[in-house]
Structures are given as structure tokens and as C-alpha cells.
Symmetry: C2
Subunit: 384 residues, 2 copies
């Protein structure tokens, strides 16, 4: 049975051969850490990290490469932002489509540190009316956090417009690009945001275990580190250095992860985001129109390919979503993810809590044939 | 020119082929994340993580595999301990041989949170008299942190005896095994400690980017997470789960890192720590006795192979340590690390601050020929 992987919103698979090859190249030929020795392999490692930062800076339109901080994943990036910026009494606005990587750390800060957490209610299709943001802003609103696109419905939120609204104010703006970096235009400069959290193992085609945070100069100054330790710099100092990126990068880095991520980013840059977005839109249009023709299916989200990324959630009348996902895997080789997708808030917003949905999320590796097979399988199951 | 890598205390190199192969196997054949889907690849990923935890639990004598938490590196493990446990007014004891991964986060907690940080002065050879620990303990001593072995001199600290002294008290005990896991007996149960922080890319022969923390049941209950987010468990809950290991493991894990680490641990278990320790002692005896015969060399540390791990620091009269390290690399292909090794406190203790030392740190890959070449090179340089 041919396998169709449709869980790219969780992680990309299969990874491009270049990604694996560059990881193996690092492991076999470089192997060492940057800044921990003056011998040539250590210098080669430093060069590799420098190049990776440069590639990401160009792709994400970040002014200076050192404004990109490597982290293990987007969850760590977001925790760094919340715990590094927020203080007692700060007001924080989030959309009601956020992932638990946003909700859980902020819920704890709300409970323990008296941070005032407020949700902006999105529509049942996941869209956000920016008037709600404008009305909710208060003098003590320290931070606004918006996902660029929902990991449940794929719905794109108006992050560029929100950035425009917040520019020049004292409110910091954080964009969660977990679902968009590498598959949608993510332009740090145009977003006018302070924090852009991304992960390496989804649209950027890298391995799991590497992600990052793009940080504005003003945010870099006021944000406290999440982790202090050895940086290979100012070793004589018992306090953390205050310059970028060392302020936020302590301990030995995930070097094979950085190698793999660099290869993924290079591939995306060489292909061009315009091409990637066009292919995605074509594929999603055919998936959405196919789904719409199947009886008994509820499609969650905007139902418009241009307003969402590679992801869509569905329910089939009379079929539990776990059962449906299991059937798709066992009988058709189609790999999806059922349940709440670590985003209970989003499921409450779209009206699918607590039962959840079956999520289809495609990637650059999927083809029109895959979409046809998905539609055929669902049609067959719905006809039982 | 034959290259001799003598910087294993920074990271191991070359890695065993099994380590790289298992990473490639994960990337090509599994590729997915555990708990993020019910299809077979996701289940295979879950099995892989489960096996890795089991291998580590056996090697490190941890009662239950879920008491092992994966982190990106030992620095993160230590930050988790300090920030998760300590509160205003707590007294913390550390040895004066600690790395900046201990010193920097604690210095910040001392400055910002009124944590009372006190150093136990080690002798100039790096050894610690346990009477000093006994005398320094106070009713509010919340935590004692000791490195198992210094990353500068290799000196082993009396961590088992300290564990015995602290057992049954209200003081928590944290051992930094960055330099010992995989090359020395690290027995969590016998240490009677609450936290054992380790890294995967040194003695455990894995790749950089993966490490961990072994945690006692009492510590797991009172320690707050450093990072909250999606865990793939209790997705309906807007708060972090409170069970192990999910309480402390949020976001997508470094799966290739776990694959590589598992292969390294399996190799060590198959070889046996007794064999590894014996080989190390033989190699270090010959290195130390060779160094002792060279004029103008100062050897830092215990000068006894049985009382230290694979590492020794030296200075050569009249030669700057950076110059010496550079000469060793350029003229002899011997790769060492000069300077302060992210451990200014340790260098103050042994009397080499701020000039630093040249550190030789060997690994399982080094041979008697390597040691002979190191001695010959130093003899030649000292004769200039």
C-alpha cells in the first residue's frame, strides 16, 4: 500500500535528502562546537552556524543575523518571550486560536504571577476581526501574541495588519510562525514585530530539535534570558553576556540540527516562496473542493485556499475522529492526526471541543495524486 | 599530518558510526514525533524514545525510566533545577570548581531573587574537603550543587559521600555529570541525589543538542517546569500535566538526537563501564607521568589518574596558553582548548585566572600512540 503522509503540521516527512546529508556531513567531517576551541574543526563549526543564521535572516527578512536565536523548538522560543518579558500586572492579549505552547505558559503566569491574560475571540472559521484587537488594547497591554496560522484549521490570521496597528506603541508583538515559516511569506521586517518564533522541522524542512526566535533590538534589550550558562564568550564573567545572540544562547547547541535546518532553508530559498505558495494554493484548492463534495463531512476553517495554509480539519457525521484517522491509516495508508492537536482553545473556538477533528496537513512532498487518494478514501468511508 | 583530537571534554569526536547510523535511520525510516499521531511511524517514534529512556535508566541506575527528562543540554537541565526549585531567601551551596552553567544562572538568581549563593572553597588541585560542606550547611540550605568532575582539571569530587551526608535531610542535592556520564560510574541511586544533570555529546558519545536530567520523586513534585507547552498528553488542559516525564518535556523533541544518544549509550553498556574506566586510567597514567617529565610544565589537578577523569590542564613557563594551543594544532595536529573553559571560578581556585590553561581531554577514541605524540610535541616545544 502506498503511504500518504498528511501530518506535515506535526512534522515534515520525508525530509529532503540534502537535509539528512548535511547533518551527516556535520557529524562526520566537523563534529565539534563553535567557540569552544581555536582548532580548524571548531572554526568550521562556527562558520556553519554563521551561515545558517545568514540563510534564515535572508529568508525571514531579519535585519541582522545575530537577531536570530537558535532554540530547540518553537515552544522554547515562546517560553523565552513570555518569561523573559512579562512582569506582575502586565496585560497580555492572545487570539482564541493559539496552541498550548502559548496557552500553557501564559496560564501559569496568569495563575502565579498575576499576569492578566485575555483572549480575542476568533470566528468559528478561525479568522480574527482586528477591531477586537484595537478595542482590547489597554495602557498596560505589554504583549500581543498571534499565531500566523492555526495548526488546527490552517486559517491565516491578520498578523501584518496587527503589526501595523501596534507599530510605534509600547506594546510588544509576538508572532508564532510554527505553521508558516517555509510555506508562507514570513517577513520579520514587514510584520514590525518584536518576536517571531519559528520551528525548523515543519515548513523549513529541517529535523526535529531545532527552532528559533527572531528578536527586535528593543526586545533584546529588555528580555531576560530563559537559560544562562557557558557561551564560549566572556568566559571570565560570572554573569551572562548582554549581546546578541549570546545573551540567549547558552550551552552546546544542536549542531546537527542547525546543519539540517540550513539545508532546508537553502532549498526553500532556491525554490522561492512564491513558487511554494502557488503550489500550496493549487493543492489546497483541489483538496477543499473535493472535501466539499463528500456527504456528511464538516469542514472547519475558511474553506478558502488563499486564506489558509496547508492544513484543514474535518469531521465525518457518525464517525469518531480517532476511528476515522485509524481507518485512513490502516485501510488507505493515509497518515493524519486526530484529536485536539494540543490546541483546546482553537477547538473551543471552532466548536469541536472536546471531541476534536481529523486534521489533514500537506507539505511540499504531497502531490495531486495524494489529494485524489484522500478524497477517494473519504468518499468510500462516508458511503459505508 | 595525523590529527589527534584531545578536546573530548568539549564534545566527543569522532562519534562512533553506530551513532550517526541510528540518527540517519530515524531521519529516513521513522521521521515523525511520538504522541502526535496514531499511525505506525508515530508509534515507532514513541517506541524509540521509550527505549532510549530505558537504556539511560539502566546505565545511570535510575529506578524508573520516566524519571529521566530529555533536555537539549546539561545547561538547560541545570537551569531547570535552579529556576524550578529555588525561591527567595534559599541558601545554595556550590563548589568552587563549578562551570558557568551552574554559576551564571545562580548568580542571576542571587542578584534578582535574593537567593543566597555560597561557594565551598576547593583546594588548588580541585579536590573538596567534605568537612567544608558539613560546616556550611544551614537550616535554610535548599540545594547543594557539585560537579562530579571538573571540566578544567578532571578532578573528581566526593559526590557519593556528599549524597550520603545529605540523605534524609531537607536539602536537595544536584550532581552535574557533564564530564562523567559515560566515562565514570554515575549511579543515580547510590548518589542519593535529587537531580543528576547530564549531556549526551561527551562521554555518552551522542550528538550535540541532546542531554537530560534524572530527577527524584520528591524533586519532581516540588520542581516547577522551565518550559510549558504541548506534550501530546491531556491536550484538553490549558495547564501543564503534572506527571513524569511530560511535566518537564514540552514541544517537539530532538528525535535524531535521542536516536544518536541511544546508540551511544548502548555501545557503552555493551563495552561495560569497568572496561572504560580501566582504559581511561591506563591512558591518563601514561599522560600524567609523561607530562611530569617535561621541564617548565605546571600540571593542574590531582596528578593522579585514579582521582580524575579524562582531563588535565597545563601551563608551560613563558608560553601563553593560546599560543601553545595554536602551536599544538598547527605544527602537530593536536587539538586542545586554551583559556578559561567557561569556568572562571575553577581557574580562580587552581590559580590560573585570568590567563587560563591548555586543557587536554581524552576520550575512548584516543590511544597510547596519541599520548606519546602529545608528550613528544610538548617536549619539543618546551626545548625551544
Amino acid at each position: 500500500m502506498r503511504e500518504i503522509y498528511a501530518d506535515h503540521a506535526a512534522t515534515t516527512f520525508p525530509r529532503p535528502p540534502e537535509v539528512v546529508e548535511n547533518m551527516v556531513h556535520y557529524l562526520r567531517d566537523i563534529g565539534c562546537s563553535p567557540g569552544r576551541g581555536a582548532y580548524h574543526k571548531s572554526l568550521a563549526a562556527a562558520r556553519m552556524v554563521y551561515e545558517a543564521r545568514g540563510l534564515l535572516a535572508r529568508l525571514l527578512a531579519v535585519p541582522e543575523p545575530e537577531q536570530i536565536i537558535f532554540t530547540p523548538n518553537v515552544t522554547t522560543s515562546l517560553n523565552l518571550v513570555f518569561k523573559g518579558l512579562l512582569a506582575e500586572g502586565d496585560h497580555v492579549l492572545i487570539s482564541s486560536m493559539e496552541h498550548n505552547a502559548v496557552v500553557r505558559p501564559l496560564s501559569r503566569l496568569a495563575r502565579e504571577k498575576n499576569v492578566l491574560l485575555e483572549q480575542l475571540a476568533c470566528a468559528p472559521d478561525g479568522t480574527l476581526d482586528l477591531l477586537k484587537l484595537r478595542r482590547a488594547l489597554r495602557p498596560n497591554t505589554r504583549l500581543v501574541v498571534l499565531t500566523h496560522a492555526s495548526n488546527v484549521t490552517g486559517t491565516i490570521l491578520p498578523v501584518y495588519e496587527a503589526g501595523e496597528m501596534l507599530a510605534g506603541t509600547d506594546t510588544f508583538f509576538c508572532v508564532d510562525a510554527a505553521q508558516t515559516a517555509g510555506t508562507e511569506v514570513v517577513d520579520f521586517a514587514a510584520l514590525q514585530c518584536d518576536y517571531l518564533a519559528f520551528t525548523g522541522h515543519k515548513g523549513l524542512l529541517g529535523p526535529p530539535g531545532i527552532g528559533g526566535l527572531c528578536i527586535s533590538r528593543r526586545a533584546a534589550t529588555v528580555t531576560r534570558p530563559l537559560i544562562e550558562g557557558g557561551t564560549g564568550s566572556r568566559s571570565e564573567d560570572e554573569y551572562q553576556p548582554d549581546f546578541l545572540p549570546d545573551k540567549f544562547e547558552s550551552g552546546t547547541q544542536n549542531m546537527p540540527g542547525i546543519a539540517g535546518l540550513a539545508a532546508g532553508v537553502r532549498l526553500i530559498s532556491d525554490t522561492g516562496l512564491a513558487v511554494i505558495c502557488k503550489e500550496r494554493t493549487t493543492l489546497m484548492e483541489s483538496l477543499l473542493s473535493g472535501l466539499a463534495e463528500i456527504n456528511g463531512l464538516t469542514i472547519h476553517g475558511t474553506k478558502e485556499a488563499a486564506k489558509s495554509v496547508y492544513t484543514v480539519s474535518i469531521n465525518m457525521a457518525g464517525v469518531d475522529c480517532s476511528d476515522l484517522s485509524f481507518m485512513l491509516d490502516q485501510a488507505y495508508g493515509i497518515q493524519t492526526r486526530a484529536g485536539l492537536h494540543c490546541a483546546p482553545l482553537a477547538h473551543k473556538t471552532i466548536g469541536t471541543f472536546p471531541q476534536g477533528t481529523v486534521r489533514f496537513s500537506l507539505g511540499y512532498q504531497n502531490t495531486a495524486d495524494d489529494v485524489a487518494a484522500i478524497i477517494a478514501a473519504l468518499r468510500e468511508i462516508s458511503a459505508f
